[in-house]
């Protein structure tokens, strides 16, 4: 019989080895799944993980990597703060939507005036929108002890309805001949979030993601708040005795996560998406949960995990075009990755012992 023995401390080696192991296991089982779907597994894996970077059309797909990774990293960095402290904000998708709606409203209100102040105002609006939306579950948890998991998730559905209302009502393009959706912000110079270096996919959102990673790292490893976050997650009672105010921590963690998700929505609506439409949100808020865990809730890990997850999105699109692989297969593939990661994580916290003859 194999027995698990709890390690006194999580293994440093396994902490970083398990994500790699999970990726390998996902590739193997994903390959099996692709084979079941009647595709060549090796070719499929190659199309997803290799071709977008070094293949024939990589000059087109490589910039897309940053475009997709930007929002994922930005959202996941914020979520990781809360997850570390045992605060489960899983409604980042809603905060992302509201951030985008706020930012687009500011931009569209200014249309067609041109000013250097419009873009910064939109950035602030996006962050404020996301924060406000995240404050609903945060305040309810602090004031009434309401479960933040359920409230933040319910608010995603509310946000989706607000998005639909905005796209069909107040933000609808007056020159759009009745079609739903707003004006295209990426064609409005003062509001557009374009590539800083053309053709690289490097827009302001990617810059913001990098800044978030750096600040997140400093906050978690060098700042007292980061210490409190880690303490509250690992030993809530010890945290309470050492003077950590749990309510304040909830508000801060949810606020940061909401602001970053709102920013991600802002950069998306002003850049790659361009406009508010019914199908504006594509699930970045949920995929970011996978990214946060895959990156070990560590900002640098999240950076790498975000790039990897972006690769599966782009590779998935390529595989869809060239191999006819269904989009759902990629979704399943991403879910599988999180499953394997959680499964092999047992090695981080426990060591395997063979226990046979001897009686304890």
């Amino acid at each position: 019989m194999i027995r698990l023995e709890k390690r006194p401390q999580p293994s440093k080696v396994w902490t970083w080895a398990t994500p790699v192991l999970a990726v390998v296991a996902t590739m193997i089982f994903g390959g099996l799944m692709f084979a079941l779907l009647g595709k060549d597994p090796v070719l499929a894996i190659r199309t997803i993980f290799y071709d977008p970077l070094f293949g024939e059309f990589s000059s087109y797909s490589r910039p897309q990597l940053l475009v997709k990774a930007g929002p994922l990293i930005l959202i996941a960095t914020g979520l990781a703060m809360g997850f570390r402290a045992g605060i489960w904000n899983i409604g980042a998708e809603g905060q992302y939507i509201i951030g985008a709606v706020f930012a687009a409203s500011v931009g569209l209100a200014a249309y067609p005036a041109e000013s250097v102040l419009i873009f910064p105002a939109m950035v602030i609006a996006g962050a404020v929108g996301g924060t406000l939306w995240a404050m609903i579950p945060a305040v309810l948890r602090v004031k009434f002890g309401t479960n933040e998991i359920l409230v933040s998730l319910m608010l995603v559905y509310v946000a989706e309805n607000i998005l639909a209302y905005a796209a069909l009502g107040p933000l609808r393009n007056p020159d759009g001949m009745g079609f739903p959706g707003s004006r295209n912000l990426s064609q409005y110079p003062s509001a557009a979030n374009l590539d800083l270096i053309p053709g690289t996919g490097m827009h302001w959102g990617v810059v913001a993601a990098l800044i978030a990673v750096i600040f997140g790292y400093i906050l978690l490893s060098r700042h007292i708040l980061g210490f409190q976050i880690r303490l509250a997650g690992q030993a809530p009672r010890a945290a309470a005795f050492s003077g950590v105010n749990p309510g304040r921590l909830v508000l801060i963690c949810m606020g940061i996560a909401g602001a970053l998700a709102g920013l991600a929505g802002m950069f998306e609506v002003a850049g790659p998406a361009g406009r508010i439409s019914i199908d504006f949100n594509v699930g970045y808020g949920f995929t970011a949960i996978i990214v946060a865990f895959l990156g070990r809730l560590h900002p640098v890990g999240i950076l790498l995990a975000g790039l990897l997850m972006a690769l599966t999105y782009i590779g998935g699109e390529v595989a869809q075009l060239t191999l006819g692989l269904p989009v759902a297969a990629i979704q399943l593939f991403q879910g599988m990755l999180l499953f394997f990661l959680l499964a092999v994580d047992v090695l981080t916290n426990y060591s395997l012992r063979w226990s046979g003859r001897e009686v304890a």
Binding site: G145, L150, V151, V158, Q331
Partner: protein
């Protein structure tokens, strides 16, 4: 606006149908949580059940076999969660979320080619005498068998938890797994059984959506029903009786808002469609505000159990 078109009898009858999927998923999750396990993957198990049931019903032509397939599909998926959380001791919140993301992907992959397909319809029972009663007949006695199955499962769970030895063991495991272990109960085995039951119920609830309520396969057919079921378990303070109240309350809101949409009330459609979610939040807040600090949640809820000795 034409409110007179809304008939209270039809409204109440529709309420029972609207409440059933939530009730099924919630009663399963209630048992899981009473065993001390927090499975946030209800949405994923429901949608997997929805497509498994749909495929089975289309393939066999029998909606009842469809429900069996849905229960098996939901249970199979839940065991994945069980193995991870019970044997590999992974974090239950994270694993539950993973189960939902995985289930949604799995369902939309399995559902390829079933969009727009018609499933065999589930017959309505026609109970002699009872269904001919004025008022009560259409409200209570002219539904399909799954509506009554849902209520029967709730009653059975209530009896099991309250009056049977097995229920006592399950509650002990949920309240204090260390003590239950010391008494010689198999904590992990009890929990695995509860998880599988929860998965099967969620699968049934999902299939009720795809086979009866909608009734067809569309991506995202569950639209958050699994999350609402989770909320209703909290709302019910982990008690089967209150669960029925919660599910009917929610079913009522859903049906009412759909009827108001159809009656073209001067309220934006979006406001009406978000109302069930807002009502759920308000109910959660009202409950947690009233309850204060003493929580009715099972003592070991969400904690991993690792038998050191």
């Amino acid at each position: 606006m034409d409110l007179s078109a809304i008939s209270p009898v039809l409204l109440l009858a529709a309420l029972m149908v609207a409440a059933t999927p939530i009730l099924l998923a919630a009663i399963g999750e209630l048992v899981v949580e009473r065993a001390g396990v927090l499975n946030l993957g209800v949405e994923g198990m429901m949608i997997t059940g929805a497509i498994c049931g749909f495929i089975t019903a289309v393939a066999t032509g029998s909606p009842m076999l469809g429900f069996v397939g849905a229960a098996l599909g939901g249970a199979a998926l839940s065991l994945l969660f069980g193995v991870l959380t019970q044997y590999l001791l992974s974090n239950q919140v994270a694993t539950g979320l993973a189960l939902t993301l995985f289930g949604i992907g799995l369902a939309s992959l399995l559902g390829q080619g079933y969009v727009g397909v018609r499933a065999p319809s589930v017959p309505k029972l026609d109970i002699p005498v009872l269904s001919d009663l004025p008022w009560l007949g259409p409200i209570l006695f002219r539904h399909d068998i799954i509506v009554y199955l849902g209520l029967a499962i709730v009653a059975a769970v209530w009896w099991f938890l309250r009056h049977s030895r097995g229920g006592l063991v399950l509650r002990a495991v949920g309240e204090n797994h260390e003590a239950a272990h010391a008494l010689g109960y198999h904590v992990t085995r009890v929990r695995m059984a509860a998880i599988a039951f929860g998965g099967a119920c969620a699968g049934l609830g999902g299939a009720y959506l795809s086979l009866v309520r909608v009734p067809q396969w569309t991506e995202g057919v569950t639209a958050g029903a699994g999350w609402i079921a989770l909320a209703i378990v909290v709302f019910a303070s982990w008690r089967p009786g209150r669960l029925v109240v919660g599910a009917f309350l929610f079913g009522g809101i859903t049906v009412l808002q759909l009827n108001l949409q159809a009656a073209r009330v001067q309220i934006p459609v979006e406001v009406l469609s978000m109302s069930p979610y807002i009502v759920t939040i308000v109910a959660l807040v009202a409950l947690s505000a009233r309850k204060g600090r003493g929580s009715a949640a099972p003592g070991s809820l969400g904690q991993s159990f690792h038998a050191a000795r």
